[in-house]
Amino acid sequence: MGFLGEYIRTVYKSVASLLKGMKMTGYYFTHHKEIITQEYPDNRDTLILPERFRGEVVMPHTESNEHRCTGCTACELACPNGTIKIITKFEVSPEGKKKKAIDTFIYHLELCTMCNLCIVACPTDAIKMAQSFEHSVYKRADLTKVLNKPGSKLMEGVE
């Protein structure tokens, strides 16, 4: 009888586990609110992207046109495929002290793999990943971007 008991138990267990799976899909079939598909071009205005979505690297500026980039080139060194190129210059402060600052922050979107290593490497949180993803342009040169706005300055107190 031991064999028969084992046999019936196997049948019972497998049927129960199959029904459990069918219950799950049955729930999804009847509950349409669970659908995760977003009808993209139609809902462009109300599109909600995940918080950690990586679209492109941007440098946030304040209203007084100040950024947080000190020009340390940590991001340039962290980038595995040479996406970032920072050109630095020396600014002379009113007291006559020389200080390193960025001249241009060049970002090659066409080379970027959105690996997020530059954002992790940045000591001053000057750059971050934006949620934009509609990157198609007509010329390849348009993908090479300068992230710091013209005339922008380093924010006070950021070293």
């Binding site: 049948v11 799976g21 069918m22 899909t25 049955g26 999804y28 349409h32 659908i35 598909t37 009808e39």
Partner: protein, 358 residues
Amino acid sequence: MFSIEKISGVVHTWLASHLPARIALLSEFVIVGILMISLFAFLGLVLVFMERKVSAYMQIRLGPNRVGPKGIFQTLADTLKLILKEGLRPTGADKFLFNLAPYIVMMVAMLLMAPIPFARNVQIWDVNIGVLYISAISSISVIGILMAGWSSNNKYSLLGAMRSGAQIVSYELSAGLAILSIVILTGSLRVSDIVASQATGWWIFKGHIPALISFVIFIIAVTAETNRAPFDLAEAESELTAGFHTEYSGMQFALFFLAEYVNIFIVTAIGATLFLGGWMPFHIGGWEAFNHIMDFIPSSIWFFGKTFFLIFIIMWFRWTFPRLRIDQLLNLEWRYLLPIGLFNLLLMTVIGILGWHF
């Protein structure tokens, strides 16, 4: 009230009164043939769309939603694409068998349509060995599949066809045993007799638990026989690209695809006829008013409703369960379904002889 029986009667009397008897019969053949082919095309369109929508909702997706309102014209557009596509044939393929195979598979599906009762007194051929005819003809489709696999001159196709052969041959037994248990209760192989015997209640209710077990075995076996997931290892996409129809394209591929869905319809229609009472309305003993309301629903709607319910269950299987390995597949058949089916048949015979069913 709407009834296919009345319409066919009117057509028959009109033809008989206007044409000589022989030509009237011939034109009736032609009409039935055209109706069957259009039913095939309609089923292909509807079932493919239904499958895509069901699968989408089960996987928390939306499914086709661009062509027409809610995407209902999607399958129509797909068919148009397949018609316009070029049918390619590999150089090393056996030309004759390669071209013949899809038609054999399709023809089997057409032959199986004959004994199915679509509504009250609407049946193409009420043969007295109807159930035997169904199980005999349905095993021919494996020849078409083997033919396609062999003639394609492709390893994937051959492997898929061989798997399909092993699968259909073994699962035919369980399906046959499940059908037999109903034949024992009815005492007749004629499909119309089987339906008539369920006027007081469907066999799945009247036959106690053994009928329920045969129903479950039947559903599992026909899912395997139609090569659908979780038993779709004959055309397992991830291993064999598309199994026996890897090398087919255009309309020849469409015929295989159509035959798959028509076969699903046929086996579920047989299941609905044997276990769920075919076109018989749902009756509860003693509830006269309720039974009377149920009688008002046309019999064709009862038949198609039950069939589509079973189709939905088979689709539910497909989008829930993972694919079985070949050894698991044969284990399931020879170690579980067949012994249970045989024991169930014995139990059913006892019930039938002692008259324990309602």
